[in-house]
């Protein structure tokens, strides 16, 4: 991604996919790295289902408004979110998506550089289905480039503190997922897009 004063990241998915969790973790990690940050959840009235959005801005520059018109990085985690987030795409947007949940046919109308991450299948095959969103988080961190892994790990620990107490093995699982996400993103570039 091009270096910017402020990175505008929009994460979109179904309620229940953990969008707000990863958005929150991302924001916290960025803050701990000393960046200016703003994170705003955005969704409608349904308690379950419905498209859930997380608007995150981070970097050195000033942040003028909690929402933005165009995303530098758009992360799409379900097919319903494709239409919902089209308005946030510009020529410079990097379109990161879960390649297992979204078929490329559905993206044929999307004019943006695409970064497919097989998060769901990788999670199922190699780790645990639950951590597919942490894999995506890893890919996001890789793309932004200015957030230290250590801060992400700390933020994960804070967010899931209660769960880590009950199941200590979750900590390592999350770290592996984070690492996997970064590797998957790098592989896409190595293989050319």
């Amino acid at each position: 991604m091009v270096k910017k004063d402020i990175y505008k990241i929009l994460i979109a998915g179904e309620g229940g996919q953990g969008i707000q969790s990863i958005a929150h973790i991302l924001a916290k990690a960025a803050y701990e790295c000393g960046h200016n940050v703003s994170y705003m959840p955005n969704y409608g009235v349904e308690q379950r289902g419905g498209v859930s959005l997380g608007f995150i801005q981070l970097g050195k520059g000033p942040i003028g408004f909690p929402k933005f018109a165009k995303a530098d990085l758009l992360v799409v985690m379900c097919e319903r979110a494709i239409e919902r987030t089209e308005q946030y795409i510009s020529q410079e947007t990097l379109y990161l998506y879960d390649a297992d949940l979204i078929s490329s046919i559905k993206l044929s109308g999307i004019r943006a550089e695409k970064l497919p991450i097989p998060a769901t299948s990788t999670a199922s095959k190699k780790l645990d289905p639950k951590v597919f969103n942490i894999i995506l988080l890893g890919a996001i961190v890789n793309e932004i480039g200015i957030i230290k892994n250590k801060m992400v790990e700390n933020a994960l620990g804070e967010n899931f503190a209660d769960k880590y107490v009950l199941k200590p093995q979750l900590r390592n699982l999350n770290l592996k997922a984070l690492d996997m996400g970064q590797k998957l993103a790098q592989e896409v570039y190595k293989n050319g897009k």
Binding site: H24, A27, K28, V37, Y39, P62, G64, F65, P66, F68
Partner: protein
């Protein structure tokens, strides 16, 4: 006083600020997007026996319970939004006629009616003159989370010092956004005293038998308000001295406008911003002064013109500038959109 930075949401900050200001009693009813504040207070009250909490059967009852708390001398407050805000204006006018320090946070959402649970700037009229009000209340409009933290404290201060109902008029985006804030900026608390069962007996009525009785009562209230206004009124004029285009914006849109001005000035455009901080009382003089060199005035708001009407009424004799409207009811306005709108004409 050393800086203390924390990463908090608007909701967290309102709660924290209220507690720092000495709030002891909260009566309310849940409504999105302000419910988290009530939940937060309920958690605090469960831990701290000095804090009182009551979830009532509706907002009108909540406001009446707030008034009960105020009569007992407790710093009592509530939060609401949207249609709940409509209902609370009923007890608010009782507070207005009795000069009670009723404090409330409003997180504006889309309207009219149930609208959205998300965001707008459409409750401005309601906050300023809701109910059958004569506007004898104070309305503060914070533009970012730092201001929200300081203004929420200031609201309690103003309410108790000047005995005026005081509203902190935020919005759903501000309330839900997580941002860094310096929480070392703490105001000294204004003292509170019971009205009932304290010193002389008081018989308080809001209903008068004769027109002239009410008129006399109101004239006293108007005089008190005018005098207090001089101390309370607040606004920000950013780079307006030589500005050819002056933006009028408030709340979170006001902050977006400030960033837009900052960016446009880097391109040598003579643009400025007038941002009211108190929406009631309104800084008429500041507004008039801000447009002295303007040939264009851009009004930006997330409503269909509620703020625009106030601006045009205020400036009616004082400018020949052309008005440009950037009205986006119930939708946010980014700095980029403001910059683009200005570039259409300048």
């Amino acid at each position: 006083m050393s800086v203390k930075k924390e990463l908090l949401t608007g909701n967290d900050v309102v709660l924290k600020a209220a507690l720092l200001a000495g709030a002891e009693y909260f009566a309310g009813y849940p409504i999105t997007p302000s419910t988290e504040i009530m939940n937060g207070w309920a958690r605090e009250a469960a831990k701290n026996p000095k804090l009182l909490f009551l979830q009532t059967e509706d907002e009108t009852s909540a406001g009446m319970a707030v008034i009960g708390g105020l009569l007992a001398g407790k710093k009592t407050w509530t939060v609401t939004s949207g249609v709940g805000h409509i209902l609370i204006q009923d007890p608010l006018v009782l507070a207005e006629t009795l000069s009670l320090p009723f404090v409330m946070y409003v997180g504006q959402r889309g309207g009219p009616s149930t609208g959205t649970v998300i965001y707008s700037q459409q409750e401005l009229n309601l906050a300023r003159y809701g109910g059958n009000s004569e506007g004898l209340r104070v309305v503060y409009a914070p533009s970012n989370i730092q201001e929200l933290f300081e203004i929420t404290q200031k609201a309690f201060h103003t309410a108790w010092r000047y005995r005026l109902p005081t509203i902190i008029l935020g919005d759903g985006y501000l309330t839900k956004t997580l941002s860094p804030v310096d929480t070392s900026r703490v105001l000294p608390q204004e003292p509170a005293e019971a009205i009932f069962l304290n010193k002389e007996v008081k018989n308080l009525r809001n209903c008068f038998s004769r027109e002239d009785e009410l008129a006399e009562h109101l004239n006293i209230l108007f005089a008190k308000y005018a005098s207090a206004s001089r101390q309370i009124v607040e606004s920000e004029s950013y780079k307006t001295n030589d500005a050819r285009v002056v933006i009028f914006a408030w709340g979170t849109v006001g902050f977006a406008a400030k960033v837009a001005v900052h960016n446009l000035r880097k391109e040598n455009k003579r643009v400025g911003l007038f941002r009211p901080i108190t929406m009631r009382p309104f800084d008429d003089r500041g507004a008039i002064k801000a447009v002295k060199n303007a040939d264009k005035i851009l009004i930006a708001e997330s409503s269909g013109g509620q703020f625009g009407r106030i601006v045009r009424e205020t400036l009616t004799q004082s400018t020949d500038a052309e008005y440009i409207r950037l009205y986006k009811p119930a939708e946010g306005i980014t700095p980029e959109e403001i910059e683009a709108k200005i570039k259409e004409v300048y």
